[in-house]
């Protein structure tokens, strides 16, 4: 079946430092990878959508300078949270899809970021 592994599961970092998280797709081709943030008491905010061989599209309020993303092949993606501050805390989810016409996403377990 289709699985997505995401790591690290949890990170505690000091304010102003950075955190890198990785996403591995198994059993399907991750043509597109979407990175979301689930802040406390909030829904999933889309940070950016990356499609192989296309430019990465960032949503409003999120920038490449703050959340650089790499999507080098059909099974792997990474995202870094640079200069993390309190407002960056939350659960970061990687959703990968082999789109076709279905649009379904397979999610990893998430990387929980705590900023001190």
């Amino acid at each position: 079946g289709a699985l997505v592994y995401q790591y690290p599961r949890r990170t505690i970092c000091k304010s102003g430092t950075s955190m890198r998280m990785e996403c591995q797709a198994v059993g399907f081709q991750a043509t597109s990878v979407a990175w979301y943030r689930q802040s406390p008491q909030k829904t999933f905010e889309l940070i950016a959508l990356s499609t192989v061989n296309s430019a990465i599209k960032y949503e409003q309020n999120f920038t490449q300078e703050k959340f650089p993303i790499s999507h080098p092949n059909l099974s792997f993606s990474s995202m870094t949270v640079l200069n993390a501050y309190l407002e960056d805390r939350g659960l970061y989810l990687c959703g990968a899809g082999d789109w076709g016409n279905t649009g379904q996403l397979y999610f990893g377990e998430g990387s929980k970021l705590t900023v001190l």
């Binding site: 979407a34 909030k42 959508l49 989810l93 959703g95 016409n101 649009g103 379904q104 996403l105 990893g108």
Partner: protein, 113 residues
């Protein structure tokens, strides 16, 4: 823009009663609709996905019907179980080339004995 609305933040009901969680959407295109379920400390998992041929998707006793006339995709189950307690997110995926999934704010379902 494209959006999903879930009007209920919390739904509490007794085991054995029917469940209905509301979901409406706005989209310029004809999107695919999804329901994802997230149990405590777990990743969200796909529960249901709309079909293009008007079939009614069903899984684990849950079902949902896409009504384009009312832009709705309400989630239903005839009899709630304690294990159904979780967060439920309605989401849409555009049929266009943007391949973007937009989530609603989620509804917490709490099933009591």
């Amino acid at each position: 823009g494209d959006s999903v609305t879930q009007t209920e933040g919390l739904v509490t009901l007794t085991e054995g009663l029917p469940v209905m969680l509301n979901c409406t959407y706005q989209s310029t295109y004809s999107p695919f609709l999804f329901w994802y379920v997230q149990h405590l400390n777990e990743a969200p998992k796909l529960l249901l996905k709309s079909f293009t041929d008007n079939k009614r998707p069903e899984h684990q006793g849950f079902h949902a019907t896409l009504h384009k006339s009312s832009s709705s995709f309400h989630l239903q189950k005839s009899s709630a179980q304690l294990s159904d307690s979780a967060l439920y997110y309605c989401a849409l995926s555009l049929s266009s080339n943007t391949n973007k999934v937009v989530f609603g704010t989620g509804t917490r379902l709490q099933v009591l004995p």
